[in-house]
């Protein structure tokens, strides 16, 4: 549905050139919710903005539905953009227009008939749950309500793709939850393909099928969310995953325990596989496992657990125990203390 081929983007400010995107390839399948995560300045906004060419890439091609956007005339591009919805961190509504006008004006300007406009405004306001605010100005709405209007505005064009640039970053946790649920619902009901960017792992965890991790303008890791959670390869991804699990063990305790055994992090998909396996350890091996930290959280489709365990016993015995765990699909990793895993 969305395909980026070898996209690079350089910004020139004065004499300095910033490479915001560096040979990025991305493929988002129809009907998927695809997340792009990265720290500030990684190039996420630039990436999502190249999809509808708000930012023209210096190199590379953008395809939507196999149409190459980068090769379209200005007029054709405008027509195509009407099928690509976009929502923003700052909502970007007309202050001078009511909720109704905010949705209706862009429809009118893209040539939708008056009758059709009226029915669409009502339909999509109902979907986002704001029918009662139809004649209210954005100034009188909360952040979450404004984002709902922005979503209704985007949906009213009946797009095939929805781009979200930090759509929940300006919202409190509860409101974030409700907006994410709304996006998920839209994805399921209309089969809308969603590309969202965020710096919060929580957003990825909650609604994304697939995820790409960005750093310095490059995608350093991508794949199904479960895979990235259970087998993060790069330090950045590890830090993002760690940000969801407060599984920091006090340093003094780590020192003390490491002298008699090994501390490992176990990641597993599904609630059932982790704990029973752990229970079997002490039965089958000469090992005393004790849980130091960890929890199980809900990914989009399945639970995902991560626990930090101290395996007390001989080295050889520990090795065998680890193999036993890995055979059961549990990802075992030596425990790495959380060093400046600050997520902004």
């Amino acid at each position: 549905m969305i395909r980026l081929e070898n996209i690079s983007k350089a910004f020139q400010t004065g004499t300095t050139v910033t490479k915001a995107l560096d040979s990025v390839d991305l493929n988002v399948e129809k009907g998927k919710i695809y997340g792009v995560i990265g720290y500030s300045g990684a190039g996420k906004s630039t990436l999502v903005r190249t999809v509808n060419l708000l930012e023209r890439p210096t190199e590379g091609k953008v395809f939507i539905n196999d149409v190459e956007l980068t090769g379209l005339s200005a007029g054709k591009l405008k027509k195509t953009r009407q099928r690509i919805g976009m929502i923003f961190q700052s909502f970007n509504l007309l202050k001078t227009g009511t909720v109704y006008q905010n949705i209706a004006i862009p429809l009118k300007l893209t040539g939708v008939s008056k009758k059709e406009i009226d029915s669409r405004v009502r339909k999509y306001l109902q979907i986002v749950g704001l029918e009662d605010k139809i004649d209210v100005y954005p100034g009188q709405l909360s952040g979450g309500q404004k984002q709902r209007v922005a979503i209704a505005r985007a949906l009213a064009h009946e797009p095939e793709v929805l781009l979200c640039d930090e759509a929940t970053s300006a919202l409190d946790p509860d409101t974030t939850e409700s907006i994410l649920s709304l996006l998920e619902q839209i994805n399921q009901e209309f089969g809308l393909t969603i590309l969202l960017i965020t710096h919060e792992m929580h957003v990825v965890q909650k609604i994304c099928h697939e995820v790409a991790v960005m750093e310095n303008g490059r995608i350093i890791e991508q794949g199904p969310v479960v895979d990235l959670f259970s087998r993060p390869k790069t330090p950045t991804t590890k830090r993002f995953v760690q940000s969801l699990f407060q599984d920091d063990v006090p340093e003094s305790l780590v020192k003390k325990l490491e002298s008699k055994g090994q501390i490992v992090t176990l990641s597993f998909v599904g609630e059932s596989s982790g704990k029973p396996a752990l229970a079997l350890l002490s039965k089958n091996f000469d090992i005393y496992p004790s849980i130091l930290a960890g929890n199980i959280t809900q990914l989009k489709d399945q639970p995902f657990g991560r626990i930090v365990v101290h395996l007390e016993g001989e080295d050889s015995e520990t090795k065998r125990a680890v193999m036993f765990l890995e055979d059961r699909g549990i990802f075992v990793e030596g425990y790495v203390p959380e060093v400046n895993a600050h997520v902004s």
Binding site: N52, K78, T80, R81, L94, T96, L109, T110, Y137, P138
Partner: protein, 224 residues
């Protein structure tokens, strides 16, 4: 007291009335033309900026320079300075007709600046959202830029109108009449202080009224 007033009205009423008409004519016509020129110029000043929709360095710098030059000339000098131009455009350099051209030349660049600053206040993000929806630039100008800044535009136009009223006071120099001219000729040159007081009073009422009207309208148009 009332006898005095009716005596004054008998004596000066017609003159004052025609001066009011002349002022309204001069202000009305030149304001209309100035807006028609100034608003598009303001839009151009915003859109030809680097990185904006019609990014054009040469046009942007040229516009800026021309506007700055005109705006540095006091109206009374401008009035005489552009006499040949006035003659060429209006066919005459005297009377209400002859003063419209210099008034427009004086006011349009001012309005362009006021429009520019009003339009620049509009949230870049909203413009971007409309670009992302595939909406034509000319629609964005009208339905986003102008619409969102309409409150500031009204305030700007109020300021411009008041400046214009001030400028018309000098129109008497080319025989265009008006309230300012009346106050100057009778009040100052002929020592008819009553006439001067009345016209000054009328000018104050006019300016106050305009400003209040502008403020109310701007507040109504503002929705946040």
């Amino acid at each position: 007291m009332s006898a005095k007033i009716s005596e004054f009205i008998d004596l000066w009423g017609a003159d004052i009335w025609s001066a009011i008409i002349e002022t309204f004519q001069m202000v009305g016509i030149s304001l209309l033309i100035s807006v028609l020129l100034g608003l598009p110029l303001g839009v151009l000043l915003v859109l030809t900026r680097p990185g904006k929709a019609l990014d054009n360095k040469i046009l942007f710098r040229l516009l800026n320079a021309v506007i700055n030059v005109i705006r540095s000339i006091p109206f009374i000098i401008l009035l005489f300075f552009i006499l040949p131009f006035t003659k060429f455009i209006a066919g005459t350099t005297i009377g209400v007709k002859g003063v419209i051209v210099p008034l427009v030349v004086f006011t349009a660049p001012y309005i362009a600046r006021l429009m520019e600053s009003a339009l620049l206040e509009v949230d870049r993000g909203v413009v971007e959202a409309y670009e992302a929806m595939g909406i034509k630039t000319r629609h964005i100008i009208w339905h986003v830029l102008v619409r969102e800044s309409r409150s500031s535009i009204v305030l700007g136009l109020t300021i411009a109108t008041i400046g214009l009223i001030g400028a018309t006071a000098m129109a008497g120099l080319v025989g265009a009449g008006g309230l300012g001219d009346l106050a100057y000729r009778y009040g100052h040159l002929r020592y008819e202080v009553d006439v001067m007081y009345v016209t000054v009073f009328l000018l104050i009422v006019l300016v106050q009224g305009l400003q209040s009207l502008g403020n109310v309208m701007a507040a109504r148009l503002k929705k946040d």
